[in-house]
C-alpha cells in the first residue's frame, strides 16, 4: 500500500472513502468530509508530500454541488483528496498555511469558480482583473462563456513596502522584447530588490472553459495550444488523461514516437533558453549559435513530421505521423552534428569568466524554499529536488531506457542553465535509443469516449517540468471539466523568491533562467 494512502487512513480512518474504479491504477483517490480537508493536508505534510495541484469542479449537472480537489505527490505516488461543497454554501478551509502553492491555486479557484477558501491570507482576485464583474465565475456551469464580459470600475491593490529610500518600479504588461505580457512590481532600495510582486492573467483566454465546448478529440488540439512551446507535452498529458478514462491501449510504437517528440521538444527549447540566458548576460554569441542549432532541429521536424513544433502530432489513442528508415537516418546524423557542436559551445560557456560572474550566485532559489513552494521541473532540479515524471511515472519506453536526472543544489542561474545542458545530452541519448529500438506496429488506436461521471488524470514531464491534467466527463459523456496545471503555475512563485536581494539589472537574467510560461499559467 502506498505511503500517502496509509497516511490518510491513519489520520482520518473510515472518514476517508476510497474510490478505486474511477481512476487509473497508478493513483489513489479519496473523498473526505468537508471539515477534514485541512486534516488531510496535515497528514500529507507529515509524510513530506508535495502539493501538485488544487482545483474545483462544478458538479451541479452530475447532481452534486462543487468538488474541491487537492492532488498530493510523493515520489512516484499521486493521491487526490476531494471534498464536496453544497452549491449554496461554497466555502471550505484553506490549506495555504500548510502548502505554499495553494496560495495561488486558491485565489484562482475563488476568482474563477466562486468557491471561498476560508482562512486564506490574501483574497485578492487572481487571473480575474479588477474590471471583471464581481459575480463573473466562468468555470461555473451557469456562466455563459460566449457572452462578452462587461467592464466595471475597480482597483487592484499591490503589496507595498515602505521606508526611507524605498521606491517602486512597475514593469509591463507590454515588455521591451518579443515576450509574453505580464506585470511586475519591484520595490527596491538603491539597486537591491526588496520585494517583487507578479501580476499575471493578461493572456487569460478562458482555456479551461473552452474545453467544455469542444469534443474530446478537439480537446487535444486545444491542449496543444495551452503553451505553444510545450505543444507536445501538453497534448500528450491531455491524451493520457483521456486514455486512462476510456481504457484505451496505446500501441507501443506510438508510445515510443510520443517519447521521441517529447525529447525533441525538450532539446529545442533548452537550446533556445541557453542562448537567451547567455544573451541576457551580455554574451550574444551564444544566442546566435544556439538559435542556429535550434533552427536545424525545427527544420528536421518540419521535414519529417510536417510541423516545426509538432503541433497536433499527438492525438487521442496515439500519434498522427510515423517515421520511416530515411527519417531515422536523418535524425541520427542530425544529432551527431548537433552533439558535437553543442559540446564545443558548452566548453565556451564553461570557460567564459565574465559569463560566470553573472550567472553564479545570481537568483538563488535555495532547496528549502523550492521544496516549500513545491517547485517542479528544471527549477526544482537546479535546487536539489530529484523530481522527474519520466523516472517516477514512466510510460514506455522510459521504463526501459531509463533517464539520468541531473540534480544540482546551488539553485542559481547557472544551475538552471546547467540542468538544461545535461538534459540536452541525455535527451540526445534517449532519442538515439528510441531510433535504434523502435518497435513496429500501429501508431494509433481507437481512443473511445469516457463513461458519464468518470474522471482521468495524468502527469507528464514537459521540458519545463511536470504537467498535470485532470479530466471529468459530464452526464452525457461530454467534457465537464478539464483542469490544466502547467509547471509555471507553481514555478512563478519561485521567481519572486529567487530575485530577493539581487540587483534590479539582474532581473531579466533571473527571469530568463526560469523562463516560465505566461499563457500556460493564465489559461
Amino acid at each position: 500500500m502506498s505511503i500517502l494512502k496509509n497516511a490518510i487512513i491513519s489520520a482520518l480512518g473510515v472518514e476517508a472513502v476510497f474510490d478505486g474504479n474511477n481512476y487509473p491504477a497508478s493513483m489513489d483517490f479519496c473523498v473526505v468530509p468537508r471539515g477534514k480537508f485541512v486534516d488531510a493536508a496535515k497528514a500529507m505534510k507529515k509524510v513530506h508530500a508535495l502539493l501538485a495541484a488544487e482545483w474545483a469542479s462544478d458538479e451541479s449537472q452530475l447532481g452534486r454541488g462543487f468538488g474541491v480537489f487537492a492532488c498530493y505527490r510523493w515520489g512516484a505516488e499521486y493521491l487526490i483528496v476531494k471534498i464536496e461543497l453544497p452549491y449554496d454554501d461554497p466555502i471550505f478551509a484553506s490549506i495555504t498555511n500548510k502548502f505554499m502553492p495553494a496560495y495561488r491555486f486558491e485565489r484562482q479557484m475563488k476568482s474563477l469558480m466562486g468557491v471561498v477558501p476560508v482562512g486564506h491570507p490574501d483574497l485578492r482576485p487572481w487571473i480575474k482583473f479588477e474590471d471583471w464583474p464581481e459575480d463573473a465565475w466562468p468555470l461555473r456551469k451557469s456562466f455563459d462563456a460566449l457572452k462578452p464580459m462587461p467592464r466595471v470600475a475597480g482597483e487592484y491593490k499591490f503589496v507595498r513596502a515602505e521606508g526611507e529610500g524605498v521606491y517602486e518600479i512597475p514593469v509591463g504588461p507590454v515588455h521591451a522584447g518579443i515576450i509574453e505580457p505580464g506585470h511586475f512590481r519591484f520595490q527596491a532600495v538603491g539597486e537591491d530588490i526588496l520585494n517583487l510582486e507578479e501580476r499575471l492573467g493578461y493572456v487569460h483566454k478562458g482555456i479551461e472553459k473552452r474545453f467544455e465546448a469542444l469534443s474530446w478529440q478537439e480537446g487535444s488540439r486545444l491542449a496543444g495550444r495551452v503553451s505553444g512551446d510545450t505543444t507536445v507535452a501538453h497534448s500528450l498529458a491531455y491524451c493520457m488523461a483521456l486514455e486512462t478514462m476510456t481504457g484505451c491501449r496505446v500501441p507501443e510504437r506510438a508510445q515510443w514516437l510520443r517519447a521521441l517528440f517529447l525529447e525533441r521538444e525538450r532539446i529545442a527549447n533548452h537550446l533556445g533558453d541557453l542562448g537567451a540566458i547567455c544573451n541576457d548576460a551580455a554574451f550574444a554569441f551564444m544566442l546566435y549559435q544556439m538559435s542556429r542549432l535550434k533552427e536545424i532541429m525545427l527544420r528536421t521536424n518540419h521535414k519529417l513530421f510536417g510541423h516545426r513544433f509538432m503541433m497536433d502530432r499527438i492525438i487521442p489513442g496515439g500519434v498522427s505521423v510515423d517515421i520511416g528508415p530515411d527519417g531515422r537516418e536523418l535524425i541520427l546524423s542530425e544529432l551527431k552534428k548537433l552533439l558535437k557542436e553543442f559540446n564545443r559551445l558548452v566548453i565556451i560557456y564553461d570557460e567564459n569568466s565574465s559569463l560566470e560572474d553573472r550567472v553564479r550566485e545570481t537568483g538563488i532559489l535555495i532547496p528549502e524554499k523550492a521544496r516549500e513552494l513545491c517547485a517542479v521541473g528544471i527549477v526544482a532540479r537546479a535546487s536539489g529536488l530529484n523530481l522527474d515524471c519520466r523516472t517516477q511515472n514512466p510510460f514506455p519506453p522510459y521504463d526501459r531506457i531509463g533517464v539520468n536526472v541531473p540534480v544540482l543544489i546551488s539553485g542559481d542561474v547557472h544551475a538552471r542553465a546547467w540542468v538544461r545542458v545535461e538534459e540536452v545530452r541525455e535527451s540526445i541519448r534517449i532519442i538515439r535509443e528510441i531510433i535504434n529500438a523502435l518497435p513496429s506496429g500501429a501508431i494509433s488506436a481507437e481512443a473511445g469516449i469516457p463513461a458519464p461521471d468518470t474522471s482521468g488524470f495524468s502527469a507528464v514531464e514537459g521540458w519545463r517540468g511536470e504537467i498535470v491534467y485532470w479530466l471529468q466527463a459530464g452526464p452525457n459523456s461530454e467534457v465537464n471539466r478539464c483542469m490544466v496545471r502547467d509547471p509555471s503555475s507553481v514555478n512563478w512563485l519561485g521567481l519572486e523568491q529567487a530575485v530577493l536581494g539581487n540587483i534590479v539589472p539582474d532581473f531579466p537574467l533571473c527571469n530568463k533562467s526560469f523562463n516560465q510560461s505566461y499563457s500556460g499559467h493564465d489559461l
Binding site: 462563456a145 460566449l146 493572456v203 472553459k209 554569441f285 546566435y288 542556429r292 516545426r308 564545443r344 493564465d522
Partner: protein, 169 residues
C-alpha cells in the same frame, strides 16, 4: 580563443543551408530590402505585441531573427518602443485582459502605421474563438492591414506577410 575558433568554423551560416531554402529566403529578402529601401528609407522598425497568444507565434518571430533568416540584413529590426515603430506585428487572439494595453500601444504608435496580424489566432481568434475572455482576431480591436495565417506561421510565411504589408503602403 575557442570563441574565435567557433566563429571561424561556423563561417557565414547562411551558406550551410540547402540551396533551395537559401533561395527562398533570398527571394523574399531581396524584395523586402528593395521595398524597405523605397518606402522606409532603408529601415523598417517593428514593434511586436503579444495580445494573448500561446507563445507559439512568438517563437517563429524570434526565428526570423536567428542567423539563418537573419532578417536584419534586409533592413528590418525590432524595437522596444511603439513610438519608434513603423509597424505593429500583433499575435493573439486579443484577450479581454490585453485589450486596453493593445489599444494603448496602437495609439502610441505614430501614423502612418502598419498593422500586421500574425497567426490564425491573430486573424480570427483561432481555436480560442470569441468568448468572455477572448475577443477574437486583432481586427476586433484595431484596424489590420495584412493577415498572416498559420498556426504558427513559419518564418518564411512571416517574411512574406511583412513584405506584403510593406508593399501595401
Amino acid at each position: 580563443m575557442k570563441i574565435l575558433n567557433q566563429i571561424l568554423r561556423t563561417g557565414i551560416v547562411t551558406e550551410a543551408l540547402p540551396p533551395e531554402v537559401e533561395e527562398e529566403i533570398k527571394a523574399v529578402g531581396t524584395k523586402l530590402e528593395e521595398a524597405i529601401r523605397r518606402r522606409f528609407s532603408r529601415s523598417l522598425t517593428i514593434r511586436q505585441v503579444d495580445a494573448g497568444s500561446c507563445n507559439g507565434c512568438e517563437l517563429e518571430i524570434h526565428a526570423i531573427n536567428n542567423p539563418i533568416y537573419n532578417c536584419e540584413r534586409f533592413g528590418m529590426h525590432f524595437t522596444a518602443s511603439p513610438r519608434f515603430a513603423d509597424m505593429l506585428l500583433v499575435t493573439g487572439p486579443v484577450t479581454r485582459n490585453m485589450e486596453i494595453a493593445l489599444r494603448r500601444t496602437y495609439d502610441s504608435t505614430p501614423t502612418p502605421k502598419l498593422v500586421v496580424a500574425a497567426g490564425d489566432c491573430g486573424c480570427n481568434g483561432g481555436i480560442f474563438g470569441e468568448t468572455y475572455a477572448s475577443l477574437g482576431g486583432i481586427d476586433k480591436v484595431i484596424p489590420v492591414d495584412v493577415y498572416i495565417p498559420g498556426c504558427p506561421p513559419t518564418p518564411i510565411a512571416l517574411l512574406h506577410g511583412i513584405l506584403k504589408a510593406v508593399e501595401v503602403k
